[in-house]
């Protein structure tokens, strides 16, 4: 393997940048930004070089050093370099790089500019660590680092109570999932005796240690362990019922939302599922598929009635993540990863476009206070349109191909999920065009909207770049690469450009045409309802349902009333126990008794030598009597 040092360099450059910024260049804004951006861009160039030298399938896909050995537990710190991780690295550094550059423009006026870039670099480092990990423990460590850095970034404007709360919520919700993940990891360590992915895969394939036990027990044990690992993905990728943190994470700066929603964090969950695809039993996979499908539908329905531009995109992310998880659940991790990559392009694009709008309107996020931005901000509008079309899944935009490959496998494996997927596709188109019609077309609704102006080049060029990839991302051969990775023998995915463009129609015409039909239906509905309207017509038409949708089906309130209430009660009881029994009876009680006894004994110490002598002699007499008197 050539250039073996490069992956290490790529991994640690952002960490170095973060440390260097925090230690030395906090006062120098330009230098901080340049350091952070060059770390991630160098990472991108480095990954390209590495792929150029070794291809997507290096001869030796793993490099590792022993990190610590405790008894029977050998923990390696290693890098896994195969098509999956290399592709993901390109996405993280590429899309991440665009977001880094964009941030320079967006955060220009923030007084904590350097801290922002340091956190951003730390985030990139953690995500690269998750991507490159070759064993569960290393992945878990970086997984937690992703959680920490997301906490730092979501709560970046910590002076605002809502941002601080959102950061805490994201972190704690993730912790719930991570606890399951940790249990899953421990289960696999207990079963397979190793944490290395390759070793676990071998163990699963060979079935060593299965023979002696009842196969039903083994199967259910493996299902349980797989679902525990999936818990981690549920937290990070915000699947129902741990989805509540993602919309609140919008409290962070918009480029951070783009980074969390596109290239990192939420992608980590799906990536982990794809990386460990071999551990899931059929039962576990069907649970995963239905959790994903349900999340996709729920989030899409909620997105229809949101009015905050970033919240619409946040729910759209949730819904698309549900799609990806569903893809993994219907035995198509390649389709899920493919959608993850194209989604990274267009969702980053959409978020950065939204950021550009918000920046131009002086932090106005309500789409009903925008309007007419097409004329004021042409670059933002057209790139946003590209993102919308890609997200909706219009041929030949990238989203079409990835969504189609998911629908095609869903059709093959579970008709119910296929119908659900098509419905979600229609809803996706509907809410995205609602957003476009209200925010960009029609009349200007406020004076800010009529005085908006295009963002600076440092913000528009990343938009152009991402728009290009959102357009062509579907035909770059990513899907062929991924299917080839999961099925080296049976993959017959074409590589020619024309063949790829028409592949969905030839391969699964039903899925492709149903997908396009749902897009058309969604578009027509949005056009019918939202073209040139002054206010939202839906609440009047569907009444209470609209209120439920706007309030996210009251999940936050439900959790408030159940989980949080329960936790508060438990906390009160434990607090009482700690305050009165542990601290009161045990600690203060011991101290008090010692003190009382001490005070009583002090009375004996008269300070008169003669009393002591007398007592001493008395003692001697007693001893003598005891020894000799009998």
């Amino acid at each position: 393997m050539k250039l073996a040092f490069l992956p290490w360099l790529i991994l640690f450059l952002p960490l170095l940048a973060a440390a260097w910024i925090m230690l030395f260049t906090r006062a120098n804004r330009c230098r901080s930004a340049a350091l952070s951006i060059s770390a991630v861009v160098l990472g991108f160039v480095g990954t390209l070089t590495f792929v150029g030298a070794n291809g997507f399938h290096p001869v030796q896909p793993e490099v590792s050093v022993t990190w610590l050995a405790v008894g029977g537990l050998d923990i390696a710190f290693g890098l896994r370099l195969d098509a999956l991780s290399l592709l993901m690295m390109l996405v993280v550094t590429g899309v991440g790089g665009a977001i880094h550059i964009y941030s320079w423009g967006y955060m220009e006026e923030d007084r904590c500019f350097s801290r922002y870039f340091a956190s951003l670099s730390l985030f990139t480092f953690s995500m690269l660590g998750v991507v490159l990990a070759n064993n569960f423990l290393q992945m878990f460590i970086f997984w937690e680092l992703v959680g920490v850095s997301s906490y730092l970034l979501i709560g970046f404007w910590y002076e605002r109570a809502s941002a601080a709360d959102a950061a805490k919520k994201a972190f704690l919700t993730n912790r719930v999932g991570d606890f399951g993940f940790l249990l899953g990891i421990l289960t696999f360590w207990g079963l397979a005796g190793s944490l290395n992915f390759e070793a676990i895969k071998e163990w699963m394939d060979n079935g060593i240690g299965f023979g002696s036990t009842d196969p039903i027990i083994v199967q259910s044990g493996l299902t349980l362990a797989g679902l525990l690992v999936f818990c981690g993905a549920m937290g990070k990728s915000a699947q129902f019922p741990l989805h509540v943190w993602l919309p609140d994470a919008m409290e962070g700066p918009t480029p951070v939302s783009a980074l969390i929603h596109a290239a990192t964090m939420v992608a980590a969950g799906v990536y982990m599922l794809s990386r460990t695809f071999f551990i899931y039993t059929p039962d576990a996979l069907s649970v995963i598929a239905w959790v994903g499908g349900f999340t996709a539908l729920l989030a899409a329905v909620v997105a229809v009635q949101q009015n905050d531009i970033k919240r619409i995109l946040a729910y759209s992310t949730l819904s698309q993540l549900g799609y990806m998880v569903m893809a993994v659940g219907v035995y198509a991790p390649s389709a899920g990863m493919f959608h993850l990559v194209t989604h990274a392009f267009f969702k980053a694009l959409l978020f950065l476009g939204a950021g550009s709008v918000i920046h131009a309107l002086h932090h106005e996020q309500d789409i009903w206070r925008m309007g007419g931005l097409r004329r004021r901000m042409p670059v933002t509008f057209w790139t946003f349109m590209v993102g919308t079309l890609a997200l909706a899944g219009v041929w030949p935009f990238s989203g079409f191909f990835s969504k189609d490959s998911i629908l095609a496998t869903a059709q093959h494996h579970s008709p119910a999920l296929f119908v659900l997927g098509a419905a979600v596709a229609a809803l996706t188109t509907f809410y995205m065009f609602r957003l476009v019609f209200v925010a960009f077309l029609g009349p200007e609704r406020t004076s800010e909207a009529s005085h908006a102006h295009e963002s600076p080049w440092v913000m528009t060029w990343p938009l152009r770049l991402l728009a290009t990839f959102s357009l062509i991302g579907g035909v770059l051969g990513i899907e062929g690469l991924l299917t080839g990775f999961y099925d080296p023998v049976g993959s017959e995915h074409p590589n020619g450009l024309a063949a790829q463009v028409f592949y969905p129609f030839a391969h699964a015409p039903v899925a492709a045409s149903v997908g396009l039909a749902s897009v058309a239906a969604g578009f027509l509905a949005a056009h019918w309802l939202y073209r040139n309207v002054a206010e939202d017509p839906l609440p009047a038409r569907i009444g209470a349902l609209s209120r439920w949708m706007r309030n996210k089906f009251y999940f936050d309130e439900l959790y408030e009333a159940t989980v949080i209430r329960l936790q508060d009660t438990a906390a009160t009881v434990i607090d009482w126990f700690d305050r009165w029994l542990v601290a009161g009876a045990a600690v203060r009680g011991t101290a008090g008794v010692t003190r009382l006894v001490g005070q009583a004994l002090r009375l004996v110490q008269t300070g008169s030598l003669q009393t002591y002598t007398f007592l001493f002699v008395l003692g001697v007499a007693i001893v003598l009597f005891a020894v000799l008197g009998r």
Binding site: R602, G607, S608, L609, Q610, T613
Partner: protein, 101 residues
């Protein structure tokens, strides 16, 4: 009637008890000191008596040592008492309470 061992020991015990009584009850440092010497000599008497009746000279040797040490001790002790008296104008033990809590 020649005195036997237990006669000597009874005298020794009486002397020791008198000395102890003095140490415990008297309040003057000097008297306490003299009582202490009395106790020491009671012990000497017992040792000498044992030595004599067991035909063994070890006890005598030990007594010589005790007398020597006691002489040195008396010198040091009296010097301390004189020093205390010079400083505090008293040798009454109940006045010497500065170390008391």
């Amino acid at each position: 009637m020649t005195p036997a061992l237990h006669h000597y020991l009874i005298v020794s015990a009486l002397l020791f008890s008198l000395g102890l009584l003095g140490v415990v009850t008297r309040r003057s440092l000097l008297i306490i000191y003299m009582s202490l010497e009395l106790m020491l000599n009671a012990a000497n008497l017992a040792l000498v008596a044992f030595s004599r009746f067991n035909n063994h000279l070890d006890g005598q040797v030990m007594v010589f040592f005790i007398i020597t040490v006691a002489a040195a001790e008396v010198a040091v002790g009296l010097a301390l008492i004189v020093a205390i008296f010079r400083r505090r104008q008293t040798t009454h033990v109940e006045d010497l309470a500065t170390l008391k809590l």
